[in-house]
Amino acid sequence: MISAKLFILQRLTALIMAPLVLGHLALMIYAVQGGLSASEILGRTQGSVFWAIFYALFVFAVAIHAAIGVRTVLFEWLKIRGSVLELLSWSLGLALLVMGLYSVYAVTA
Protein backbone atom coordinates (compact mmCIF):
# COMPACT_ATOMS: atom_id res chain seq x y z
CA MET A 1 0.00 0.00 0.00
CA ILE A 2 3.00 2.26 -0.07
CA SER A 3 4.00 3.83 -3.38
CA ALA A 4 7.45 4.98 -4.45
CA LYS A 5 6.47 8.58 -3.66
CA LEU A 6 5.69 7.94 0.01
CA PHE A 7 8.62 5.56 0.34
CA ILE A 8 11.04 8.21 -0.93
CA LEU A 9 9.48 10.87 1.30
CA GLN A 10 9.96 8.60 4.29
CA ARG A 11 13.58 7.88 3.42
CA LEU A 12 14.37 11.56 2.80
CA THR A 13 12.83 12.60 6.12
CA ALA A 14 14.89 9.86 7.82
CA LEU A 15 17.96 11.34 6.16
CA ILE A 16 17.09 14.76 7.58
CA MET A 17 16.36 13.39 11.04
CA ALA A 18 19.56 11.38 11.48
CA PRO A 19 21.93 14.36 12.03
CA LEU A 20 19.21 16.27 13.92
CA VAL A 21 18.78 13.41 16.41
CA LEU A 22 22.54 13.36 16.99
CA GLY A 23 22.55 17.14 17.46
CA HIS A 24 19.60 16.90 19.83
CA LEU A 25 21.26 14.16 21.91
CA ALA A 26 24.56 16.04 22.07
CA LEU A 27 22.71 19.18 23.15
CA MET A 28 20.86 17.32 25.92
CA ILE A 29 24.07 15.85 27.31
CA TYR A 30 25.69 19.27 27.18
CA ALA A 31 22.66 21.03 28.66
CA VAL A 32 22.33 18.87 31.81
CA GLN A 33 25.96 19.40 32.83
CA GLY A 34 25.16 22.40 35.00
CA GLY A 35 21.81 21.04 36.27
CA LEU A 36 18.55 21.39 34.41
CA SER A 37 16.22 24.36 34.84
CA ALA A 38 13.57 26.01 32.70
CA SER A 39 15.29 29.36 32.81
CA GLU A 40 18.55 27.83 31.68
CA ILE A 41 16.89 26.14 28.67
CA LEU A 42 14.88 29.20 27.72
CA GLY A 43 17.99 31.32 28.08
CA ARG A 44 19.60 29.29 25.36
CA THR A 45 16.62 28.91 23.02
CA GLN A 46 14.69 32.15 23.31
CA GLY A 47 15.34 34.47 20.41
CA SER A 48 17.61 31.92 18.74
CA VAL A 49 16.91 31.68 15.01
CA PHE A 50 19.25 28.72 14.79
CA TRP A 51 17.37 26.57 17.32
CA ALA A 52 14.03 27.68 15.85
CA ILE A 53 15.05 26.43 12.41
CA PHE A 54 16.75 23.33 13.83
CA TYR A 55 13.66 22.16 15.71
CA ALA A 56 11.10 23.33 13.14
CA LEU A 57 12.87 21.22 10.52
CA PHE A 58 12.92 18.34 12.99
CA VAL A 59 9.17 18.68 13.57
CA PHE A 60 8.38 18.71 9.83
CA ALA A 61 10.49 15.58 9.26
CA VAL A 62 8.97 13.75 12.24
CA ALA A 63 5.39 14.56 11.21
CA ILE A 64 5.85 13.23 7.67
CA HIS A 65 7.98 10.24 8.66
CA ALA A 66 5.70 9.12 11.48
CA ALA A 67 2.51 9.55 9.47
CA ILE A 68 3.81 7.31 6.68
CA GLY A 69 5.05 4.68 9.13
CA VAL A 70 1.82 4.59 11.12
CA ARG A 71 -0.12 4.45 7.84
CA THR A 72 1.58 1.13 7.04
CA VAL A 73 0.86 -0.25 10.51
CA LEU A 74 -2.81 0.78 10.27
CA PHE A 75 -3.05 -0.82 6.84
CA GLU A 76 -1.29 -4.11 7.55
CA TRP A 77 -2.26 -4.77 11.16
CA LEU A 78 -5.61 -3.11 11.61
CA LYS A 79 -6.71 -3.65 7.99
CA ILE A 80 -7.80 -0.04 7.64
CA ARG A 81 -8.30 0.86 3.99
CA GLY A 82 -9.23 3.70 1.65
CA SER A 83 -10.04 7.23 2.74
CA VAL A 84 -10.24 6.30 6.45
CA LEU A 85 -6.61 5.21 6.21
CA GLU A 86 -5.56 8.48 4.58
CA LEU A 87 -7.61 10.53 7.05
CA LEU A 88 -6.23 8.80 10.15
CA SER A 89 -2.60 8.81 9.11
CA TRP A 90 -2.49 12.37 7.79
CA SER A 91 -4.43 13.67 10.81
CA LEU A 92 -1.73 12.15 12.98
CA GLY A 93 0.91 13.89 10.85
CA LEU A 94 -0.95 17.18 11.11
CA ALA A 95 -1.39 16.84 14.88
CA LEU A 96 2.34 16.17 15.33
CA LEU A 97 3.12 19.13 13.11
CA VAL A 98 0.85 21.54 14.96
CA MET A 99 1.90 20.42 18.45
CA GLY A 100 5.56 20.36 17.48
CA LEU A 101 5.60 23.78 15.87
CA TYR A 102 3.65 25.19 18.81
CA SER A 103 6.33 23.95 21.23
CA VAL A 104 9.10 25.26 19.03
CA TYR A 105 7.39 28.63 19.00
CA ALA A 106 6.91 28.52 22.77
CA VAL A 107 10.58 28.01 23.55
CA THR A 108 12.19 30.11 20.86
CA ALA A 109 9.95 33.14 20.37
Binding site: M1, S3, L12
Partner: protein
Protein backbone atom coordinates in the same frame (compact mmCIF):
# COMPACT_ATOMS: atom_id res chain seq x y z
CA UNK B 1 6.60 -51.90 9.91
CA UNK B 2 7.09 -48.37 11.24
CA UNK B 3 4.62 -45.79 10.09
CA UNK B 4 4.52 -42.03 9.87
CA UNK B 5 1.39 -40.15 10.89
CA UNK B 6 0.49 -37.70 8.14
CA UNK B 7 -2.16 -35.07 8.74
CA UNK B 8 -3.44 -33.82 5.43
CA UNK B 9 -5.63 -30.78 4.94
CA UNK B 10 -8.83 -31.77 3.11
CA UNK B 11 -11.50 -29.48 1.76
CA UNK B 12 -11.78 -26.17 -0.02
CA UNK B 13 -11.27 -22.47 0.64
CA UNK B 14 -14.57 -22.32 2.54
CA UNK B 15 -14.02 -25.29 4.79
CA UNK B 16 -11.10 -27.58 5.42
CA UNK B 17 -9.99 -29.95 8.14
CA UNK B 18 -7.07 -32.25 8.76
CA UNK B 19 -7.45 -35.94 8.05
CA UNK B 20 -4.98 -38.39 9.52
CA UNK B 21 -3.28 -41.18 7.55
CA UNK B 22 -0.66 -43.75 8.51
CA UNK B 23 2.01 -44.20 5.84
CA UNK B 24 4.76 -46.86 5.95
CA UNK B 25 8.15 -45.38 6.74
CA UNK B 26 10.94 -45.90 4.24
CA UNK B 27 14.66 -45.37 4.39
CA UNK B 28 14.51 -42.62 1.76
CA UNK B 29 11.26 -40.79 1.38
CA UNK B 30 10.13 -37.30 0.43
CA UNK B 31 7.03 -35.48 1.64
CA UNK B 32 5.65 -35.82 -1.88
CA UNK B 33 6.15 -39.61 -1.58
CA UNK B 34 3.93 -39.59 1.52
CA UNK B 35 1.17 -37.72 -0.26
CA UNK B 36 1.48 -39.94 -3.33
CA UNK B 37 1.27 -43.07 -1.17
CA UNK B 38 -1.95 -41.81 0.41
CA UNK B 39 -3.48 -41.01 -2.97
CA UNK B 40 -2.44 -44.33 -4.55
CA UNK B 41 -3.12 -46.75 -1.70
CA UNK B 42 -5.49 -45.16 0.80
CA UNK B 43 -7.70 -42.43 -0.63
CA UNK B 44 -7.74 -41.81 -4.40
CA UNK B 45 -9.89 -38.71 -3.95
CA UNK B 46 -6.97 -36.75 -2.46
CA UNK B 47 -6.02 -33.89 -4.77
CA UNK B 48 -2.48 -32.54 -5.01
CA UNK B 49 -0.16 -31.27 -7.68
CA UNK B 50 3.23 -32.36 -8.94
CA UNK B 51 4.97 -33.01 -12.24
CA UNK B 52 8.73 -33.45 -12.41
CA UNK B 53 9.57 -34.85 -8.94
CA UNK B 54 13.11 -33.50 -9.33
CA UNK B 55 12.83 -29.84 -8.35
CA UNK B 56 12.44 -28.42 -11.85
CA UNK B 57 8.78 -27.63 -12.43
CA UNK B 58 7.78 -25.81 -9.28
CA UNK B 59 4.34 -27.40 -8.99
CA UNK B 60 4.64 -29.34 -5.73
CA UNK B 61 4.72 -26.47 -3.22
CA UNK B 62 2.84 -27.20 0.03
CA UNK B 63 2.93 -26.18 3.67
CA UNK B 64 4.82 -28.82 5.64
CA UNK B 65 4.51 -28.47 9.42
CA UNK B 66 3.49 -24.88 8.77
CA UNK B 67 6.41 -24.00 6.52
CA UNK B 68 6.28 -23.66 2.73
CA UNK B 69 8.41 -26.23 0.90
CA UNK B 70 8.93 -27.94 -2.46
CA UNK B 71 7.73 -31.33 -1.36
CA UNK B 72 9.45 -33.43 -4.03
CA UNK B 73 12.82 -32.46 -2.65
CA UNK B 74 11.98 -32.25 1.01
CA UNK B 75 13.12 -35.40 2.73
CA UNK B 76 10.87 -36.69 5.45
CA UNK B 77 13.87 -37.07 7.75
CA UNK B 78 14.53 -33.37 7.49
CA UNK B 79 11.08 -32.38 8.77
CA UNK B 80 10.06 -35.32 10.95
CA UNK B 81 10.27 -34.54 14.63
CA UNK B 82 10.34 -37.12 17.41
CA UNK B 83 6.53 -37.26 17.31
CA UNK B 84 6.70 -38.99 13.90
CA UNK B 85 3.93 -36.70 12.69
CA UNK B 86 3.90 -34.51 9.62
CA UNK B 87 1.26 -31.96 8.78
CA UNK B 88 0.73 -31.17 5.09
CA UNK B 89 -1.45 -28.32 3.84
CA UNK B 90 -1.98 -26.16 0.76
CA UNK B 91 0.39 -23.24 0.14
CA UNK B 92 -0.51 -20.15 2.16
CA UNK B 93 -1.62 -16.84 0.65
CA UNK B 94 -3.40 -18.48 -2.30
CA UNK B 95 -7.03 -19.62 -2.57
CA UNK B 96 -7.51 -23.35 -2.07
CA UNK B 97 -9.25 -25.19 -4.92
CA UNK B 98 -9.31 -28.58 -3.23
CA UNK B 99 -7.20 -30.33 -0.59
CA UNK B 100 -3.58 -29.47 -1.40
CA UNK B 101 -4.24 -27.72 -4.70
CA UNK B 102 -4.19 -23.91 -4.73
CA UNK B 103 -5.27 -21.52 -7.44
CA UNK B 104 -2.05 -19.95 -8.76
CA UNK B 105 -3.85 -17.39 -10.96
CA UNK B 106 -3.23 -14.38 -8.72
CA UNK B 107 0.41 -15.40 -8.37
CA UNK B 108 0.94 -15.39 -12.14
CA UNK B 109 -1.31 -12.38 -12.79
CA UNK B 110 1.11 -10.44 -10.64
CA UNK B 111 4.02 -11.54 -12.82
CA UNK B 112 2.25 -9.83 -15.70
CA UNK B 113 1.32 -6.80 -13.58
CA UNK B 114 4.97 -6.09 -12.72
CA UNK B 115 5.77 -6.01 -16.44
CA UNK B 116 7.04 -9.58 -16.28
CA UNK B 117 6.26 -10.40 -19.91
CA UNK B 118 9.03 -10.05 -22.49
CA UNK B 119 9.36 -6.55 -23.94
CA UNK B 120 11.41 -7.25 -27.07
CA UNK B 121 13.91 -4.62 -28.16
CA UNK B 122 14.37 -6.24 -31.61
CA UNK B 123 12.18 -7.87 -34.20
CA UNK B 124 12.54 -11.33 -35.72
CA UNK B 125 14.61 -10.07 -38.65
CA UNK B 126 17.32 -8.62 -36.48
CA UNK B 127 20.00 -10.78 -34.97
CA UNK B 128 19.69 -11.62 -31.31
CA UNK B 129 21.47 -9.50 -28.73
CA UNK B 130 24.78 -10.91 -27.53
CA UNK B 131 25.04 -10.96 -23.76
CA UNK B 132 28.39 -11.16 -22.06
CA UNK B 133 28.05 -13.32 -18.98
CA UNK B 134 30.58 -11.06 -17.29
CA UNK B 135 28.64 -7.82 -17.76
CA UNK B 136 27.51 -6.15 -14.55
CA UNK B 137 23.84 -6.37 -15.54
CA UNK B 138 23.99 -10.05 -16.36
CA UNK B 139 25.80 -10.72 -13.09
CA UNK B 140 23.00 -8.98 -11.14
CA UNK B 141 20.35 -10.96 -12.96
CA UNK B 142 22.18 -14.29 -12.68
CA UNK B 143 20.43 -15.55 -9.58
CA UNK B 144 17.06 -14.04 -10.30
CA UNK B 145 16.60 -15.98 -13.56
CA UNK B 146 16.74 -19.39 -11.86
CA UNK B 147 13.22 -19.10 -10.43
CA UNK B 148 10.97 -22.15 -10.96
CA UNK B 149 7.71 -20.29 -10.09
CA UNK B 150 6.95 -22.59 -7.20
CA UNK B 151 5.24 -19.92 -5.05
CA UNK B 152 7.07 -21.01 -1.89
CA UNK B 153 8.40 -17.50 -1.31
CA UNK B 154 4.94 -16.05 -1.93
CA UNK B 155 3.49 -18.34 0.73
CA UNK B 156 6.19 -17.29 3.19
CA UNK B 157 5.69 -13.53 2.77
CA UNK B 158 3.92 -11.81 5.68
CA UNK B 159 3.34 -8.71 3.62
CA UNK B 160 1.33 -10.73 1.07
CA UNK B 161 -0.70 -12.10 4.01
CA UNK B 162 -1.40 -8.57 5.23
CA UNK B 163 -1.95 -7.03 1.81
CA UNK B 164 -3.31 -9.36 -0.83
CA UNK B 165 -2.60 -6.82 -3.57
CA UNK B 166 1.16 -6.83 -2.94
CA UNK B 167 3.00 -8.29 -5.95
CA UNK B 168 5.17 -10.46 -3.71
CA UNK B 169 8.73 -11.70 -3.94
CA UNK B 170 8.64 -13.90 -7.05
CA UNK B 171 7.06 -11.37 -9.40
CA UNK B 172 9.32 -8.57 -8.19
CA UNK B 173 12.32 -10.84 -8.53
CA UNK B 174 11.25 -11.41 -12.13
CA UNK B 175 10.94 -7.65 -12.64
CA UNK B 176 14.49 -7.19 -11.41
CA UNK B 177 15.84 -9.77 -13.84
CA UNK B 178 14.09 -7.97 -16.72
CA UNK B 179 15.43 -4.59 -15.65
CA UNK B 180 18.88 -6.16 -16.05
CA UNK B 181 18.13 -7.81 -19.37
CA UNK B 182 19.67 -5.97 -22.34
CA UNK B 183 16.93 -7.51 -24.51
CA UNK B 184 14.25 -5.60 -22.59
CA UNK B 185 12.90 -2.51 -24.29
CA UNK B 186 11.38 0.26 -22.20
CA UNK B 187 12.72 -0.64 -18.77
CA UNK B 188 11.08 2.48 -17.39
CA UNK B 189 7.68 0.84 -17.81
CA UNK B 190 8.82 -1.96 -15.46
CA UNK B 191 10.17 0.54 -12.93
CA UNK B 192 6.84 2.36 -13.13
CA UNK B 193 4.90 -0.88 -12.62
CA UNK B 194 6.84 -1.79 -9.47
CA UNK B 195 6.48 1.71 -7.98
CA UNK B 196 2.73 1.72 -7.34
CA UNK B 197 0.67 0.85 -4.29
CA UNK B 198 1.17 -2.90 -4.77
CA UNK B 199 4.84 -2.57 -5.61
CA UNK B 200 8.31 -3.23 -4.25
CA UNK B 201 8.15 -0.47 -1.63
CA UNK B 202 5.80 -2.57 0.51
CA UNK B 203 8.54 -5.10 1.22
CA UNK B 204 9.82 -5.06 4.81
CA UNK B 205 13.10 -6.75 3.81
CA UNK B 206 12.74 -9.41 6.51
CA UNK B 207 13.85 -12.04 4.02
CA UNK B 208 11.40 -14.85 4.66
CA UNK B 209 11.32 -15.29 0.89
CA UNK B 210 15.08 -15.70 0.63
CA UNK B 211 15.07 -18.05 3.60
CA UNK B 212 12.50 -20.38 2.10
CA UNK B 213 13.30 -20.21 -1.62
CA UNK B 214 14.23 -23.84 -2.40
CA UNK B 215 16.54 -22.68 -5.19
CA UNK B 216 18.36 -20.42 -2.77
CA UNK B 217 17.51 -17.30 -4.74
CA UNK B 218 17.40 -13.99 -2.97
CA UNK B 219 14.19 -12.16 -3.95
CA UNK B 220 14.66 -9.83 -0.99
CA UNK B 221 17.94 -8.58 -2.46
CA UNK B 222 16.32 -8.19 -5.88
CA UNK B 223 13.59 -6.08 -4.29
CA UNK B 224 16.14 -3.94 -2.44
CA UNK B 225 17.90 -3.36 -5.77
CA UNK B 226 14.59 -2.41 -7.38
CA UNK B 227 13.98 0.11 -4.59
CA UNK B 228 17.41 1.64 -5.11
CA UNK B 229 16.93 1.84 -8.88
CA UNK B 230 13.49 3.42 -8.54
CA UNK B 231 14.84 5.85 -5.93
CA UNK B 232 17.57 7.00 -8.28
CA UNK B 233 15.22 7.40 -11.22
CA UNK B 234 12.51 9.20 -9.24
CA UNK B 235 14.54 11.49 -7.06
CA UNK B 236 14.53 14.18 -9.73
CA UNK B 237 10.79 14.38 -10.06
CA UNK B 238 9.92 13.63 -6.44
CA UNK B 239 6.46 15.08 -6.60
CA UNK B 240 5.63 13.84 -10.09
CA UNK B 241 2.82 11.46 -10.90
CA UNK B 242 4.47 8.46 -9.29
CA UNK B 243 1.43 7.31 -7.37
Amino acid sequence: MNTITVQVSRGSEKHSEFQTFEVPEQENQTVLDLVTYIQEYIDPTLSYRFACRVGMCGSCGMMVNGEPRWTCRTHVKKVLGSSKTIEVGPLKNLPVIKDLVVDMDTFFDKWIAVGGVHHPSKNRHQSIEKISELSAERMSANEAVECINCGVCYASCDVVSANSDYFGPAALNRAWSLVNDVKTKNKDSILEAVSGNAGCHNCHSQQNCSNYCPNELNPSASIASLKRTVFASKINNLFGNSK
